[in-house]
């Protein structure tokens, strides 16, 4: 049943829910009956070793490919059959593990192009992208918000790795999402860049539901409100960071029987 629209704007409202998600690749079960719920105002981290199924989960939730079984609900609507672009327009933003920015475009242009996705009227196709006030307004806002304002005219390919990751998030924000699925946003970052990114995520938390797939455990346990641990495609624990730290199943999975 669809949740009432008024409830979705409140903190704690479930904006994205995955129910019983299973994904098989031939005989390999990449995800097995995974349940996940993302709430507004909360960062939900998903951790696990390589091959645990974290990226597969993000890909299914974002609509990159469909689940073999299970259901995805976005803002109370069943979107399992929706294409990725439609989910994105409905309020689902995602970033990738690797940089997917447009290197030859300026920082501002990257954000403006992403913002353009929010209002794609066919009859305005000919309008100059540079003079589109709506896209430019949104792009200006996210460039400021992501701390890239000083670099707005620089070709994105010339940014440092950390700045590229910031731009990835800025491009997500330019689509004005309610849910953010972030695949290893801290990968390859230095200490200073990590701090900046964590501050940005903390800032975004109030208005968004965030799923964070990350290998940096210090950062995860510092920022996450809830942590889900995956092993071999299954969820072995999902709880608050404090409870996860002492969960015997998690300790066994991460540290073995020592």
């Amino acid at each position: 049943m669809n949740a009432p629209a008024s409830n979705l704007s409140e903190a704690g409202a479930v904006l994205l829910r995955g129910r019983n998600i299973t994904r098989r690749w031939g005989g390999l079960v990449a995800l097995k009956e995974v349940d996940v719920a993302l709430q507004r105002g909360s960062i939900h981290a998903v951790i696990g070793t390589n091959g645990a199924g974290k990226s597969t989960l993000i890909n299914i939730l974002s609509g990159e490919f469909p689940p073999s079984e299970g259901q995805v609900e976005l803002l109370g609507q069943d979107v399992t059959a929706w294409a990725q672009a439609r989910r994105a327009r409905a309020g689902l933003g995602r970033s990738y593990q690797r940089n997917t920015i447009y290197p030859s475009f300026s920082v501002f242009e990257n954000c403006r192009l992403a913002a353009q996705a929010t209002h794609q009227q066919a009859w305005r196709w000919w309008q100059s992208a540079q003079h589109c006030t709506v896209s430019c307004g949104i792009a200006e806002d996210v460039v400021q918000r992501s701390g890239l304002a000083d670099l707005r005219n620089l070709a994105a390919g010339l940014l440092s790795h950390g700045q590229k990751r910031q731009l990835e998030i800025a491009m997500c924000l330019a689509t004005q999402p309610q849910v953010l699925l972030l695949d290893e946003p801290l990968a390859g970052m230095g200490a200073e860049e990590t701090e900046r990114m964590l501050a940005m995520l903390e800032d975004l938390k109030a208005d968004h539901a965030i799923l964070l797939v990350e290998h940096d455990m210090d950062a995860v346990f510092r920022i996450a409100d809830r942590v889900t641990v995956m092993v071999n495609g299954s969820v072995i624990a999902s709880d608050t960071p404090a409870a996860i730290r002492t969960d015997p199943q998690v300790l066994t999975a991460y540290l073995g029987d020592h």
Binding site: E64, R112, S128, T175
Partner: protein
Amino acid sequence: MNTRLAFVLACFALLALFPLVAGSYGIDLVTKIMVYAIFALSLELLVGGTGLVCFGQAAFFGIGAYTAVLLSSDSNASSLAWLLPASVLAAAAYALVVGSLSLRTKGVYFIMVTLAFAQMAYYVVHDTPLGGGTDGIYLTLKPVLGTLLDLDKPGTLYGFTLACLVLVFAGLAVLGRSRFGRALAGIRVNEQRMRATGFSTYPYKLAAFTVSGGIAGLAGFLFAVKDGFVNPEMMSWHLSGAVLIMIILGGLGHLRGALIGAFAFALLQELFKSEAIFGAFAKHWHLGLGLSIIACVVLLSRGLVGLPAQLPARLLGAKNSEGAAP
């Protein structure tokens, strides 16, 4: 005014002044090259603008040409006012059909599917009475626009072709800066990211494919009017390959690259065909043309548009290495 715009304006100004100094051979040759340039621009929208390597562009060119000839009357000169749009629309309609199916594939499959559709069109005109078979069909009376334009006159056809080239170039330049054009550029760089951002990429690509087919149809129409004759070779894969070489030679991703590439390709062709220069070797002109294209691609990775940027570096590099030698 930036140098690129100044270069393009200078090219168009030179083309406008060319008939004042050229003879009938020169006018005929440059008219043909301008038609090739329009054809190359149509493919540049797909390859350089959207990242779609179409290997069947000649089909749209040929359909534009055949439509012009098949719809023309043998007793009265047809009006340009309806014959030109009909040729463009016929080519665009075929592009819409081909695009709607072929754009479901990617990479090398897309290249092969577009080639297959072009070969289908080729065999329709080659093997049926509709297209006059291998002999082709003659255009008895060339189209007119009242008393204003008579395309039977080489000078008028030259001016009309130049006007079409300027319009297509300007239209594609505006399109490249539009919301639609920027979305196509995004698709060229990273289609997956565009989908994740909220763009349904298929309609964008299909629209680009259809517009490209329509422009190729315009080029085909002009070619048929210029030669007064069409045959199946206008739809052959050789021509699809040649136009692809033109845009690679000129430099992918630049409209002026298509323009330069068309001129370079056609002039190299004329050069190596010249018996006055190459004597008996002129009959092997394909060899000379091929070698010079390979040399261009090897030495100029960004095509001829990259020449001003690369030449000083190469010359400097050569001098430095000479200086470093013991």
